[in-house]
Symmetry: C2
Subunit: 315 residues, 2 copies
Amino acid sequence: MRADGVDEAMIAALRAFGRFYTRQIGLLEEGLHRSAFSLTEARVLYELAHRDRPTASVLGQDLGLDAGYLSRLLKRFEEQGLLTRRTAAEDGRRQVLALTQAGQAAFAPLDEASRAEVGALLARLPSADRAALVGAMARVRRLLGDPPEGPAILRDLRPGDIGWITHRQGLLYASEYGFDLTFEALVAEILAAFVRDFDPARAGAWIAEQGGEVVGSVFLAPACAGAGPAPETVGKLRLLYVEPSARGQGLGRRLTAACIEGARARGYRQLSLWTNDVLGTARRIYAEAGFRLVESAPHRSFGQDLVGETWMLDL
Amino acid sequence: MRADGVDEAMIAALRAFGRFYTRQIGLLEEGLHRSAFSLTEARVLYELAHRDRPTASVLGQDLGLDAGYLSRLLKRFEEQGLLTRRTAAEDGRRQVLALTQAGQAAFAPLDEASRAEVGALLARLPSADRAALVGAMARVRRLLGDPPEGPAILRDLRPGDIGWITHRQGLLYASEYGFDLTFEALVAEILAAFVRDFDPARAGAWIAEQGGEVVGSVFLAPACAGAGPAPETVGKLRLLYVEPSARGQGLGRRLTAACIEGARARGYRQLSLWTNDVLGTARRIYAEAGFRLVESAPHRSFGQDLVGETWMLDL
DNA sequence: CCGAGATAGTTGACTCGGTCAATAGTTGAC
DNA sequence: GTCAACTATTGACCGAGTCAACTATCTCGG
């Protein structure tokens, strides 16, 4: 363990992955070898086919290619009739690139071969492993700072979700606030009860997914009997969470809004939630959404001294 | 969805990862660019430093390098005094390669730079994300068929484990046997209760970890009160599971043995377990370990018609 | 023990992917 | 109008990697 909390074993694991994947890319390149294009050419073709009116400079930037090399490469494509280059109307320096019919026809088999190869790889895996692989890759990308392609979508609960959410919350609160195993157990228990007692007329789940990976969630459940006045009119917002690396795009707000909306739709008159004072970001979101703090009491849980808070919102 | 159950979105996700990581390796190469060595040379040096008496051919094989190219590269290293080549005693064709002192001295700064770079990358991440990244990378490697470096080790429960195990079991049984969400909820409930009521004198957890990733687990808990005769003398083996991709190395047997051993050490006289007849591999392991089937009853759970089985072992 | 065939490594000839630096044209800020 | 910054091009260059032919050694069947 180093001073900054980075473990040597972690470093070794990342480097091992790098070595592994470098080799993997070498193998991948062999697949292309039979075609008329090199890996770099194939990458350029891919970008040309998928981007909207790209210019040479953004291509070079994004693929990490030398401008001179790229220029020649594009010239060759043009000579082969795969590509047209027109100077951009709004900037005479730039050229708008576009594949011709022939270019698309040349790219299609490459694209298809790649898709088939990847498909065959996936088909070899048991189906539970397929989802795991896709999720793991999405996670690696996001954690290494690759911006996700699309916006986050909110979807319903699926197998694997409640375990995943338990896992992430357990890890997150353990490392950020020092919570012990009992916190994770509490999350597991809440989610188990949520599924066990699930009634779509009274409860709901919103899972935020981005690029094939779960990046946040929130749950709506009926308040426990005996908690507060007229419990059947009170809903409970539970387990709001957003992945650290997915923060800053307003996902917490979106999830909260969805939950409030869901509570209204199910006829609840009030929405309550329980949280801890250490969770600053979450508190801000609740306050913004109109919740008000109605109770605050110190408690010892999860191996920590905390101040529990109950918030309430009139719907 | 294609005929073989492979989803187009999955294929797209894998290809996106490939593009992303190809670019990532380009960036990595830039870091080396300042040093006297190319990426390939650095890879060869790394293997020379970490392998035991390698030969040129295995190096070429494992790194995917051309024999001719590698030969010249090694020759250059030898001329620079970084490397010695001796024909192997047992086979006159082969050469045993070894870095000289100078070779190790040349490699050390490279190695250190790489370690520092990776360390800096990790240090930028929140600590919960670090573990997630390492785990995700280990998973990608294992799922793509990279054999894990070391043997699996059995360790104790840590934050994140029970969620992870719930997640994997939920996904696994959903995809293999069509179990619905309630199965995952049951796992979550069992694990939550395990942690809540945890007493080291009566319960235990064995988590199999390999290359930074959880690949299996088993739990020992006291049998529920009222179940069978003299419940305090009966332990219960619960939630045995092994990742599909980690099967075939006797991990299930090892976990079962550890659990039995743990039950003996805690003074239990009998060990029971509940399973379903569809789980063939698990049943074989139980039978081999000496468990005998004592009860069998059909039930409808998890959206499926199943036959539940109780097995028992005298300790 | 011999010879066929495989394997480990070497070498020459070559290609191609990529770098570097100089240059020309274009744009926007002042 | 000038100048700095940017886009793209071109010539000169090189090192990484490929391919095929060749030597030396080992293995195995007869």
